[in-house]
């Protein structure tokens, strides 16, 4: 039953992605991208990961705002003159790769443990000793800031670099006026 609920949300996400690809109106396309993110929030809540759900719902909302404010300054319709391969060729290539993917997925799926019984070796140590070693009752916080601090340092550096990059590309001061 639980897997059925999860699968229905995953199907909803796939439908949202297909609609976002196929529709011509760019605003509708961006909003159906939002379906993917918000369905992912529900999935995280169902699987018991509130930290990820909080981050995902806020970042998704902020991303939607950025996308919509970008679309406001451009045309709302997609440019219809798109050149591509002939349809026969793309259908056959698509079917070929889908078959390869399904074969690989079948081989991998037989090896996977069932849902709800993860194979933990490293995480078991964190779960049993994390509280007494760090003193933080939120174990996710203890892992990302204490045990795996280098990851967070890298993430902060990436954010810093991207903010500097945006501010440098779009700056006014010191630019040659052409």
């Amino acid at each position: 039953m639980f897997e059925l609920v999860l699968s229905s949300f995953i199907v909803l996400m796939i439908l949202g992605a297909l609609v976002a690809l196929e529709t011509r109106n760019l605003l509708a396309s961006v909003i159906s991208l939002g379906i993917i993110g918000f369905a992912l929030v529900v999935l995280f809540l169902l699987l018991g990961a509130p930290d990820l759900a909080i981050v995902q719902i806020i970042v998704e909302t902020l991303t939607l705002v950025i996308f919509i404010s970008a679309i406001r300054h451009t045309t709302p319709q997609e440019n219809s003159k798109t050149r591509g391969f002939p349809p026969k060729f793309s259908w056959s290539v698509g079917t070929f790769f889908l078959l390869i993917f399904l074969l690989g997925a079948f081989a991998i799926y037989r090896e996977l443990p069932p849902l709800g019984s993860p194979c933990v070796r490293m995480a078991l140590y964190y779960l049993s000793h994390g509280m007494e070693l760090t003193g933080a009752s939120n174990l996710v916080s203890a892992i990302i800031l204490d045990f795996r601090g280098y990851d967070t340092l890298g993430e902060a550096t990436v954010l810093f670099a991207s903010a500097i990059g945006v501010a440098t590309v779009l700056r006014k001061m010191g630019k040659k006026s052409s």
Binding site: T134, N138, G149
Partner: protein, 144 residues
């Protein structure tokens, strides 16, 4: 924006900001943490710009502040990690827990993890705010 958006935003902006500060400060006790709280704080500033426009917000001063706090945030994080070496051990050692292991489930517990959360919150909030703000404002200036 219209009057409806402005009146609702006037009530929502302080509460979103407060929720962000709460999530940052209680990151080691409840779900959330520096990243989520920082994005919430940045979101309150972005909502203010969206609702009231660029002119009323005095954004030029805000931009200088945000690039300053961004540098402060990442420097604070790096400095806290470097404290481990100064203590005589490895990088990213949780020094404050080693000094005084004690209370659990309190606001002042878990050593330097709340400080790490605070640094990450400052960094994420000001970096995201700088990005959104630069993309919006420099666009609006170019229009006649």
């Amino acid at each position: 924006m219209t009057l409806i958006v402005r009146s609702i935003a006037r009530w929502m902006i302080p509460s979103i900001f407060l929720l962000g500060v709460y999530v940052v400060l209680h990151g080691h006790l409840t779900p959330g943490g520096g990243f989520a709280g920082g994005v919430l704080v940045a979101g309150s500033f972005v909502l203010s710009i969206l609702a009231f426009g660029v002119k009323k917000n005095k954004v030029e001063t805000k931009k200088e502040w945000s690039s300053l706090t961004e540098s402060i945030g990442i420097f604070l994080f790096w400095f806290l990690a470097f404290l481990g070496i100064l203590w005589g051990s490895y990088f990213f050692l949780n020094v404050l827990t080693k000094m005084s292991p004690g209370a659990r489930f309190h606001l002042f517990s878990a050593g330097s993890i709340p400080l790490y959360n605070l640094a990450i919150g400052i960094e994420v909030a000001s970096a995201l705010f700088t990005m959104v703000f630069v993309l919006m404002v420099f666009r609006e200036k170019e229009r006649p």
